[in-house]
């Protein structure tokens, strides 16, 4: 009897905690400082900014809610730094929340709804899944709360709910990688023939998230354009989504250049590294691109076993990555990768808050597309690049 009661009580507790969990979520880290942990009150921060006397815009006093995709990747730490800068400049309050994990879509929707209930002056949103937030955006519109999207846009947002989107042009960012890899391997491409093909690898984390799709496709499209410019035909093989999405590719038999696209079964580094290894172990591979932090680290992990990456096309495979993180930055400094493309998470966080303040001031706002910047050993320390290269 006792055991039964205990088991029932525990089950009930589990059910209740699961229901309550969505609302609570992960409130930690909104000050972007790993040590400070779980502070959710931002009044202290706004106060500090005023006391420090660094706020030039003065005291607008707006209160905003920010929902990030997750606190999973250190990418968001850089975004929060940008938010802090805007807070200090304008004298506004920003409370940031986010789920534990970028696949916790339901949790994020609940956080967004809670944020709307708090009746802030504005909401900044980075949606995990663009379709799931549409209903909440309608609620925000009804409540008269302006929304600014950052990092990812929302495809079918209700008319008038999203005032502006501050995000990287992912297709262009993927193209930047292609533009920087091509000159290094140009000789090899020009020397390729239908009988002696060359292979360029691309590892994409998935084929379902809009930003990854655009990035992966952007790289493929630009590489095809550059190869065609050198009079070489290109075939695309591998993951069906990207193969079918490409225009301008020919059959494998007729091509001199093959672009092989690997997508792991799940978005984990070990599976990504297997995909990278599969491509890198082939004899005709001359270059490989990992289109986000996870897949770039997969390439680096695969190289620990294969040891094939080099900055000299005659000596090995040319590698490039995306975003930052300590392993990737180290790999660039150690001549394993020739470079990577960074987004501007810091600027995105900053501009999101500035834009919200402008809306509250009654100004007109419009979308702010951000560029992806190529960084390598040569410019990693530059002032406009370095702050975005989070650890």
């Amino acid at each position: 009897m006792k055991k039964k009661v205990l088991a029932i009580l525990l089950s009930a507790a589990m059910v209740v905690s699961m229901a309550a969990c969505g609302g609570g979520g992960n409130d930690g880290g909104d000050t972007g400082n790993a040590d400070s942990g779980t502070a959710t009150e931002d009044t202290a921060d706004a106060g500090d900014a005023d006391d420090a006397g660094s706020s030039e815009g003065g005291n607008k006093g707006y209160s905003f809610q920010m929902i990030v995709k997750s606190f999973q990747s250190t990418y968001w730490q850089a975004a929060i730094k940008g938010v802090e800068q805007a807070k200090a400049e304008l004298g506004v309050e920003v409370e940031a929340n986010g789920p534990a994990n970028e696949s916790d879509i339901a949790d994020q929707v609940q956080m967004l709804d809670s944020a709307i209930q708090k009746k802030p002056d504005g909401i900044a949103l980075a949606a995990c899944d663009t379709k799931s937030v549409v209903d909440s955006l309608a609620k925000a519109l009804e409540a008269g709360i302006p929304v600014v999207c950052f990092d990812t846009g929302v495809d079918e947002a209700p008319e008038g709910s999203v005032y502006a989107t501050v995000a990287t042009d992912n297709a262009a960012a993927g193209a930047v990688a292609a533009e920087n890899i091509f000159p290094v391997i140009e000789e090899k491409i020009k020397a390729a023939t239908v009988d002696a093909k060359v292979r360029i690898g691309e590892v994409n984390q998935d084929a379902t998230a809009l930003n990854i799709q655009q990035r992966g496709q952007g790289f493929i499209d630009k590489m095809i354009e550059l190869c065609n410019g050198a009079d070489k035909k290109v075939a695309v093989v591998g993951n069906e989504f990207y193969v079918n999405g490409t225009e301008g590719a020919v059959d494998e038999k007729e091509a001199e250049v093959i672009i092989e696209v690997g997508v792991p079964a799940q978005t984990t580094v070990d599976l990504a590294s297997t995909e990278a290894q599969k491509i890198m172990s082939k004899d005709d591979t001359i270059a490989i691109f990992g289109s986000n932090q996870t897949t770039a680290e997969g390439v680096i992990t695969a190289n620990q076993t294969l040891n094939k990456l080099s900055t000299d096309p005659e000596k090995g495979i040319i590698g490039a990555g995306f975003d930052a993180g300590t392993p990737q930055k180290e790999a660039i400094l150690n001549d394993q990768l020739i470079g990577s493309v960074t987004q501007s998470p810091l600027m995105m966080g900053y501009e999101a808050v500035i834009t919200l303040a402008k809306i509250c001031d009654g100004e007109e706002v419009s979308d702010i597309p951000m560029d992806g910047y190529w960084y390598s050993k040569d410019n990693m320390e530059d002032d406009n690049i370095a702050p975005n290269l989070y650890d």
Binding site: L10, A34, Q72, A100, S273, K278, P327
Partner: protein, 324 residues
């Protein structure tokens, strides 16, 4: 007597799994010329260490007729906490390794108390612990991902335990030697020590064992502590192999380990199983993880194929039971 029979049958099972491994290697090598190269072998082994450690540990709860679902999110959490201590608190790697394993043991004790002393169903109890460990790491570390020191940095020596790179650049996966040593040790524990024999006894007939005067509560808890200990070690192996540890990851890792153990002959209802079988089963799982992409099977088909293989393994188990 029943024990001896079980052991005898399993020798046949292990031989069968070994045959499957050889068949898979031959098949993949034929279908993919790049598969049968030395780097691929190193890669299969690299990806196997943390799963092997999980499987060696979880074999004990499985043999008692229970299960430990917290090892997947657990190992990621422990690795996260260890990495946090290194980077945010400046502690040496040795301390981080000790804390990682220590946390594993703590959670193992927690699981053991829930299942063995408070009599909760193992599936439910360890599922709840799994949720706790999933949030525990990120909660203690501020929620961001972390990397343990890389192999080229001064503190990166711990990675050499698993993979040694000679001056000429040859990579030697010495981790496999340690795995084999651990398999030998834990096999001995399971077959020849009181801990092992009582674990099997609890699984085959708990009441009879209790009536025979054995302190089953103690040995039952111990099974989960062993599982937790190995989850902690798996956390270190995971940190040594991969570049960055992401919070919230790990859900699903336990299925690789438990699947491997079941393929290797551990019965889901308890009382039957060997350490060697679990180890071989994990090799099957890791071969599939690396081999299927290499032969060109795309992501979704890999998952379908793996699922079918696991069903086949459980089916063999069930059919054998029916024969008895």
């Amino acid at each position: 007597m029943a024990n001896k029979k079980a052991l005898g049958k399993l020798k046949g099972r292990e031989a069968m799994v070994l045959a499957i491994i050889v068949a898979m290697i031959v098949l993949f090598s034929i279908l993919s010329p790049t598969f049968r190269t030395y780097p691929t072998l190193v890669s299969v082994l690299d990806n196997s260490y943390y799963i092997t450690l999980m499987a060696l540990g979880v074999t004990f709860p499985l043999i008692t007729g229970g299960v430990d679902l917290s090892i997947g999110t657990g190992l990621v959490s422990y690795a996260l906490i260890g990495g946090f201590l290194i980077f945010q608190k400046g502690m040496p790697v040795g301390v981080a390794i000790a804390v990682c394993i220590g946390f594993g043991i703590l959670i193992g004790i927690f699981n053991g108390v829930l299942v063995a002393i408070m009599d909760l169903p193992p599936f439910l109890a360890t599922l709840c612990t799994c949720m706790i460990t999933r949030g525990l790491g990120p909660a203690l570390c501020g929620g961001f991902g972390v990397s343990w020191p890389s192999s080229i940095s001064a503190d990166g020596g711990f990675r050499k335990i698993f993979k040694f790179v000679t001056a000429e650049g040859t990579v030697i996966p010495i981790g496999i030697v340690f795995m084999i040593i651990l398999v030998a040790i834990m096999s001995f524990v399971l077959d020849h020590t009181r801990v092992g024999r009582y674990t099997i006894a609890i699984g085959s007939n708990k009441e009879a064992t209790r009536l025979a005067g054995v302190n089953i509560k103690f040995y039952h808890v111990l099974a989960y502590v062993i599982s937790g200990l190995f989850a902690g070690m798996a956390g270190v192996a995971y940190a040594a192999t991969y570049a960055t540890i992401y919070p919230g990851a790990g859900a699903g890792f336990e299925l690789d380990a438990i699947g491997g153990a079941i393929v290797g002959g551990v019965s889901a209802s308890g009382g039957v199983g060997t350490i060697l079988g679990s180890f071989l089963g994990v090799i099957v799982i890791c071969l599939m993880k690396v081999g299927l992409p290499f032969i060109g099977l795309q992501a979704n088909w890999q998952q379908i194929f793996t699922g079918i293989v696991l069903i086949a393994a459980v089916l063999v188990d069930v059919l054998k039971k029916k024969k008895d």
